[in-house]
Amino acid sequence: MYRWKKKIAPYLFVLPNLIIFSIFIVFPALFGFYVSFTEWDVLTSPEFIGLGNFIKLFQSADFWAILSRTLIYVFSVVPITFGLSMVLAIILDRNIKAKGFFRAIFYLPTMLSFIVIGVSWRWILGNNFGILNYLLDLAGMAPVNWLTNSTTATIMVIFASVWARVGYFMVMFIAGLQGIPGVYYEAAEIDGASKWQQFRHITFPLLKPTSLVVVVLSTIQAFKMFGLIKVMTTGGPGDSTTYLVQEIYQQAFQVGDMGYASAMSVMLFLILGLLTIVQFKVSNRGGNAYE
C-alpha cells in the first residue's frame, strides 16, 4: 500500500510548483519565441512573417547602437564588480578587526531595490543641488553635469550598478575563500612564497568555481538592469543610457510592436546563452584546479 503512495507522492509534491512554472515561465518562453516571427500589435491576432523582425533588427542602425552600448555597459560593470568583490573578500576574509562590521557595510546596498538606489544617486548627483557638486565646489573644481552629459551619465550608471551589488558577490567570494584549507598558505609561507605568489598560485586557482559563478551571475544581472536606469537617467540624456532591456520595454509597451520586441528578447537570450557557454569554456580550459 505505502509503495503505491510513495510512487504517486512525488508527482503531487512537485505539481503546484511545476504548474505555475510551466504557465508563467516555460510557456511564455516558447510563446515569445513564436511571437518573434510574427507581426503583432496585441490588438489584432499575430501574423507570421518569418524572419522579418530579425532582418529589420539587423538592418536597424539603432539596434546596433543600443547593442554596442549595452556591451560597453556590461563589460564595464562585470570586470569592475568581479575585481572589487574579490579584493574586498580577500581583505575581509583575513583575521582583521571589525571585519563583520565592514562586511555588513559593503553588503548594505544589496538590500536596497534598484529603484531606491537610482533615486538616491540621482539626488546626490543633481547638477544644482547635488552634494557631489558641492564637494567639488569646496575643492575648487567646476561642477559637473553628472547625469545630463552622456559620458558622465554612462560612467555614473556603471558606478551605481557596481555599488549596488558588489557586496553580494563579495559574500560569495568570502564563502569560496573559506573553502580553501589554511595549510596551503602555511606550506607556501614555509617555502618562502610572497603574498602575491600565494594569491597567484593558491587563492586565484582555488577560487575558480566561485569566480565562474560570480562572472555568470553578474553578467546576467548587468544585462537585465532596468529599474536603476529608469529612475536614474530614464535612459538619457538622449538615449545614451538606453540599453537592450529598456529598448525591449519601449518597443513592446510604448510602440506596441510585440514581434519586434520579442525578436530583441530572443537576441538577448542568445547573447546570454553564448556568453555563459564561453565563460564555462574559458574557466575549464585551465583544467580542474584541484587536480
Binding site: 511564455p28 511571437v35 531606491v116 564563502a175
Partner: protein, 273 residues
Amino acid sequence: MNNKIKNILWYTILLLFSLIFVLPIIWIFISSLKTSNEIFSWPPTILPNNVTFSNYITAFSKGNFITYFKNSIFVAVAATALTLLINSMAGYALAKFDFKGNKLIFFLFIATLMIPLQVIMVPIFIVLRNLGLYNSLWGIIIPPAATPTGVFLVRQYMTTIPDEVLESARIDGASEWRIFSMIILPLSKPVLTALTIFSFMWRWNDFLWPFVVLSNESKYTIQVAIANFVGQFSVDWNSLLAMNIVAMIPVLLVFLFFQRYFVKGIAMSGMKM
C-alpha cells in the same frame, strides 16, 4: 613598528572606502528631514537647521502612499508564503524521491535560471492578460513564486536529510503529507528561514514585474510608485526622499535581525553551478 603603520594605513583606506557605501544612504536620510526650502539651499546645509518630519507626513497624506505601502506588504507576505509552500514541496520531491522525470524536471528548473524575466516580459504580459491577472496583485504574487533558485536551495538542503528517517516513518504508517509536514519541514528550518528572508526581500524590491503588470494607480507597489514619481518632469524631491527612506526600512530591519542568514543563503546559492 613598521607593521603597525601599515595596519593603520590599511584601516584608513578600508574606512574611507566603506564611507562610499554608507554615506549616500545617510545623506538621503538627512535630506529627507529638511524643509522644502532648505533642501535646495546652496550651499547645502550638512545637518538640517530644523529637523522636520513634514516630508513623511506629506508623502503619506498625499496620493495613495499608504495604499502603496499596504500593497507592497501584501505582495511580499503572500508571495513569500506561497513560495515557501510550493518550493519546499517541489524541493522535497526532487531531493527525496527517485521518480520518473525527476532529473528532467530538475534540469528544467535550473535551465530557466538563465531566462530572466527581462527576456520573457512580452509573452508574460500576454499570458497574464489572458488569465485575467493583468492589473491584479495576484499577477505579481503567483508567477515569481515558482522561483528556480528557491527550489534549488531547498532541494540541496533536503538531500542531506538521511533516508532512514523517512523510511521508519513510512513503516510506522505515517502518510506522505504527514512525513513532509511533521518531519521534513522542521528539519529544514535553516534553509526555509533563508528562503523566507530572501523571498521577502526579492518581492519587496521587485520592480519590473509589478511595473509591467500593474496599470491602476491604486494597485501600485512602493517601488512602482517611486519610479512613476521620478518620471514626472518636475520631481517632488521632498516627498520622494521620504518615500525612498520608507521603502528601505522593511528590508533594513530584516537585514539587522537576520544578517547571518544572508551569508548562509548566498553561500548556498553560490554552490549552485
